[in-house]
């Protein structure tokens, strides 16, 4: 499957881009993250501590265990600091 993958805040800075198309056979978010980390060092660095990250699937907060069935857009970012 091809996904739109978005990165925000320091995740974006470490990976070096805000958005990309990613092709992966992973069935969960964690599987997709493993695919990315295997690609290049900068992904492995950005995703080195998953507990410090959040993920949204199609713009809804989700978890790293969530399945990717039907998902188009995946976003990774640190804990939010609005307000």
């Amino acid at each position: 499957m091809i996904y739109d993958v978005l990165y925000f805040a320091w995740v974006r800075e470490r990976i070096g881009l805000p958005k990309e198309k990613v092709t992966s056979d992973a069935t969960t978010v964690a599987g997709l993250v493993a695919d990315l980390c295997a690609r290049e060092e900068r992904y492995a660095v950005a995703f080195s501590d998953i507990s410090a990250l959040r993920v949204a699937l199609d713009q809804e907060l989700s978890t790293f265990e969530a399945p990717l069935d039907g998902v188009r857009e995946i976003a990774f970012f640190p804990p939010m600091t609005g307000g």
Binding site: L6, F8, A9, W10, R12, A56, Q59, E60, L61, A75, F77, P78, P79, M80, T81, G82, G83
Partner: protein, 147 residues
């Protein structure tokens, strides 16, 4: 109910003045607005607020709708800026109107607690000696547990 995400400054006075204006069924209006603080050492030059276009509007709408569902409210406003801001600038505001003050206060606090940790905004501070992302506070995450 209004949800606004914008880069430009907002007119606090005009928003407060028009909110719930002329309603004779509402006795209580609470507003909150957040201001960029200069940091303790006074070296803050500016702050950049990044957000997730699309998800931001959805998240704020969901939070505002949840407040309307939980409390007896006549109106809700949530407004949040993104982009560059300096110390003293107003970042965001919420307003709630209710028949009684308890609903208005609780709903405003609920909105703020959820905005802090559930709306996709990230702040980066730029100072003379470098830039750094503002870390989320465990206090803010803990604040959600009361709702």
């Amino acid at each position: 109910m209004r949800v606004i995400v914008q880069e430009q400054p907002f007119d606090l006075a005009a928003e407060v003045e028009s909110f719930a204006k002329g309603r004779t069924d509402l006795g209580a209006v609470v507003t909150f607005h957040g201001i960029v603080r200069g940091d303790d050492t006074g070296t803050l030059d500016h702050m950049m607020i990044e957000h997730y276009p699309g998800m931001t509007e959805r998240a704020l709408t969901t939070i505002a709708q949840e407040a309307m569902r939980r409390w007896s409210l006549g109106d809700v406003l949530v407004l949040h800026r993104f982009g560059e801001m300096r110390a003293g600038d107003r970042i965001m505001m919420v307003a709630t109107a209710a028949r009684h003050r308890k609903d208005a206060f609780e709903a405003a606090e609920f909105l703020m607690d959820y905005l802090k940790s559930r709306a996709p905004f990230w702040k980066k501070e730029y100072a003379a000696d470098g830039a750094s992302w503002v870390a989320a506070k465990s206090d803010d995450e803990d604040a959600l547990s009361r709702w």
